[in-house]
Symmetry: C2
Amino acid sequence: MSSREPKQDRSRATRQRLLEATIDCLADQGWEATTVTAAAQRAGVSRGAAQHHFPAREDLITAALEHMFDARMAEIRAESTRLPEGPGRTEFVVSRVVDHYTGELFKAALQVWTAAAADPSLRERIVPLEAKFGRTVHQTAIELLGADDTDPTTRRLVQATLDLARGLGLADVLTDDSARRQNIVTQWAATLHAALPQS
Amino acid sequence: MSSREPKQDRSRATRQRLLEATIDCLADQGWEATTVTAAAQRAGVSRGAAQHHFPAREDLITAALEHMFDARMAEIRAESTRLPEGPGRTEFVVSRVVDHYTGELFKAALQVWTAAAADPSLRERIVPLEAKFGRTVHQTAIELLGADDTDPTTRRLVQATLDLARGLGLADVLTDDSARRQNIVTQWAATLHAALPQS
């Protein structure tokens, strides 16, 4: 058994490098350019090894989105063990949600969504994945805010925060929007804090 | 002179059909599929006539985005001659902004932005166009709200409304999000109305 472990470790490391290279490639080069071969080259992995892990491009891309999403959610949770109280807590959560939708993972996912808009079979794979991601971010935001999701106002305001964050993500795709974005985050966090029941 | 008018009219009508077909094609088929030939075919125009108007694909696509944007803004202004007062006015304006970013023009523009993310020369053409569109929608929203754009809170909340609308546009690309969106618009309008100074 123990003699197999290093091989499994190598295989796991190869898989991870491939998934990260796929996200980089999507964000930089776009959907058309992100083939299994291109991701393998970027990861420094042989084409054969890449195809062993991911026979089709769609398998590689959905695995990459899932892997990166899970890694980002784990990071957000790890950063959130000691939350401030009061308005600072709301701003912390709004910032983390906006960071999530303005990072490289969003830029990669945007390429996939846009391709899926004109490709029904890709759309079929991406819609449930995207719904799961949305639910997870929403649930994480509710927990970090310590808010009550059974209250309709709370639920809608948290949903609106996610929609705002996606819009800010889009505004950052072609130009660096970070200075303007910081003002929007500060303003919305204050408005959200005042609007949330019992906050 | 008068004998030339019908020809000019025909030429103008051809150009307009081409521009509309280009937006339809981008929204349905995506960036890669939207060539001058494909748009000409969709518009029922000969390839030669299309290339006479638009020698390069980028000319056709930027002209189509500008034409449709101007047409949509003119529609919004025409609809906005008799605005309700109070919270109903804020909701009217939020709804119009959100409608703008969830329509076919947004779906077409999204294809162009996403392609531009991986294409520096396209990006160079699209960034100033997109900045002009954003300024125009912002200015229109400020005017329709009767708000004071020199107030930083107002400016940021109106910007946030545009970002929210872009996020709602994105959420509508792969699935029909209209039912959820209506709740978000109602909630956002109420929150915005309460947060705007002197409203």
